[in-house]
Symmetry: C2
């Protein structure tokens, strides 16, 4: 094993032990000190970011990546505000999740504890460095960060700043560690550092996450891709349906909870689709459709089989016409990524059937899929949106960064 | 990919969809029909087991393995009773785990749902076939079973019996599938069947589970090895300490919650150890110790570094003498498998410190480690004891075989 990773793992474990016992007040002090330090060291951080940006431009990195990489004063202020916000959240550690007395008089308590050491592996955005450090710290965990190589100078400047703030309040600086070596070999070794890492959380594109799942032996929380559908039943109120579709498709098309597919009942399609096409026109949404949709909207492109499984993350919407709700559910369960799905209906039975039979982290009746978000859900934070079924599903707040342990108080009980 | 595994995966997914919607009554009917069928088909099952036993004897399989493999009328009756017991347990599916209203009037409910398709991979014991089928079914999941090759005829007879019972009550027979091909290649392919399996639960020796963790790309729930310690503080009541140690070490030494190590404060060691050695004498426990323990008990063997990390699963106990509770906690956290640890003390501060600082699924004050068990905890069932921190920790009952989904009811909300 790589010696430096071995050292990083040992340091993280030692820091996690201290953080696991740290009281809420000191963790909050650390978060506020981190916020202050980001502003104090703003010039150095912006300089490091300018170096990364220059290198990226040299290497002809795509514009969308450059946008993600760029830091500004406003973005640093936003990061600092984020840290202060996390300081205001309730501390999940120590919560008694359940408790009972057994027939032989043992008092059993299930208590929330930190996970321990969390690995975060992500692509260009340097704000993940600060977000991840804040949330893992508040939940009493040490974190090992591995960001993209394009952002390495920025990430070093950010993590050094955060580590100095930790030392200021008397917490171990190794509560937050960043891999300075951004080689693939070291990333792969981190994904297999089972002796020290309790969990690995990848953030990035669908392909990136697939690669991590393939390589990692450390347990992974899969965050993710969203091929989100809205089904419009035959009884839907058309103005409401159109308002929700416009919102879900256009309000922020690049994110995972944006709508990608419209499934529409054949009884309402001839009325809905022309009105929808007209309403979407100002938003520059490219429409595609199956044969039936193309009959109603002759100007749109015929969707291919590949379309149904694709997350566009763009102003494209593919339309599938179905005979009934059963066909809608079958189609959605076949092609969705188990993220967020919605039905527009005023039919009670449909609403029940859809929410029960659709397999997804979040299922909506008469609302936009865009609400799948830790802040919208009221968690006050979000480490990602889990699309797996183990450990955490849907928007993940601080409790997703914790485990539990049982504490059993007895008075000499032995097993018969 | 292996075509037959592909087919098995598709069949399991289809069955899981039906089970996910099945009501409690029909799942319970299936469990009772399975219990009846085991008794009806007892002769065929015992014959299949006799064939496995004969082959195993030919292949000079060890006696302990033969004991695990053997079925008797009594063991089949016990399996049937187990199925009936699971039928009496509350159905976890549909439970509203949490629910709230957001500021914009969305009603959010977090509802318990099945995991989907569960892979179980295990060694010789054929009762796991029946236990796993019962628990996964009750929690609304389909299961794909892969038992040891020594038990293949027995497992086929058992799973065929269970599948017939499923058909009788109108549930899909593919709710329970057994891999008839027991090759390592097929087992490895099952561990990587991410397109169909939501989770993989291995049951078996520590080495077996390590191998599964290495090979699997499907998320694994690690069940586990137990290198369990009891720390006796300097103030402990000696008769209570001895009673707990005898119970934890000797009541069933082969299981994971049995005690493996005694850590004892140096102030009480000279009094405790001779009395303990005398009390343990009738139980044929081999004692080992560090240098200090060997000074007090000159007849015992000196423990090596390897001893401290070893789960003996046998009538062996290694003794470590420490200067204080901090040294005890450091030693235990270094060598334990994060399963079950206990302190014997009447000191309030020690009890608090030990339960907070020890990193383990279950931490006891003044009770035997042998209580770490789904039945003893009152779960009415146990699919295993998780020694990982993700998803489930400690004894796992039916809820460990579930996930949740969010159902969000709106009236036209769009995101601002």
């Amino acid at each position: 094993m790589d010696t430096s990773l071995e050292t990083i793992g040992q340091q993280a474990t030692a820091a996690a032990y201290v953080l696991g016992q740290a009281d809420t007040a000191i963790k909050n002090q650390a978060l506020l000190a981190m916020a202050d330090a980001l502003l104090t060291h703003q010039d150095a951080i912006l300089q490091a970011n300018a170096n990364d940006m220059a290198k990226a431009a040299e290497n002809q990195v795509r514009q969308v990546m450059l946008d993600r990489l760029l830091l500004t004063e406003a973005r640093i202020t936003a990061m600092a505000d984020g840290l202060r916000q996390v300081a205001t959240l309730p501390d999940p550690i120590g919560e008694v999740v359940a408790g009972w007395r057994t027939p032989n008089n043992l008092d059993v308590k299930q208590v929330r504890v930190p996970l321990g050491v969390i690995g975060m592996i992500y692509e260009a955005r340097p704000n993940v460095t600060v977000d991840a450090a804040a949330l893992t710290l508040k939940a009493g965990n040490a974190v090992v960060l591995r960001g993209g190589k394009e952002a390495i100078e920025t990430n070093i400047a950010l993590s050094d700043t955060l580590r100095q703030a930790l030392v200021q309040v008397g917490l171990p600086k190794d509560s937050v560690q960043l891999l300075h070596d951004t080689s693939h070999e070291t990333a792969n070794a981190l994904m297999q550092l089972t002796a020290y890492l309790d969990v690995l959380i990848p953030r990035g594109s669908a392909n990136f996450i697939k690669m991590v799942l393939k390589t990692a032996t450390v347990p992974v929380i899969e965050t993710g891709a969203g091929n989100c559908h809205i089904y419009v039943a035959e009884d839907a109120a058309i103005p409401e349906a159109i308002a929700i579709i416009i919102n879900a498709k256009t309000q922020r098309p690049s994110v995972c909870n944006a709508m990608e597919k419209l499934v529409v009942n054949q009884a309402i399609a001839p009325t809905l689709l022309p009105q929808l096409a007209q309403a979407l026109a100002p938003y520059n949404v490219t429409l595609k459709g199956d044969a039936q949709a193309c009959e109603i909207l002759p100007d749109i492109e015929l969707a291919t089989e590949a379309d149904w499984g694709t997350e566009y993350n763009d102003l494209i919407l593919a339309i599938k016409v179905v005979s009934d709700i059963d066909a809608a559910i079958t189609h959605i369960n076949r092609y969705n990524t188990k993220h967020s799905e919605a039905i527009i209906t005023n039919n009670y039975q449909y609403s029940q059937q859809f929410t029960k039979q659709i397999d997804a982290a979040v299922v909506y009746v008469n609302a936009s899929t865009r609400f799948t978000d830790g802040f919208e859900f009221g968690f006050g934070a979000e480490i990602g949106i889990s699309t797996q079924k183990l450990h955490a599903r849907g928007p993940m707040g601080l409790p997703a960064l914790t485990s539990t342990k049982y504490i059993v108080n007895g008075d000499g009980q032995i097993r018969a």
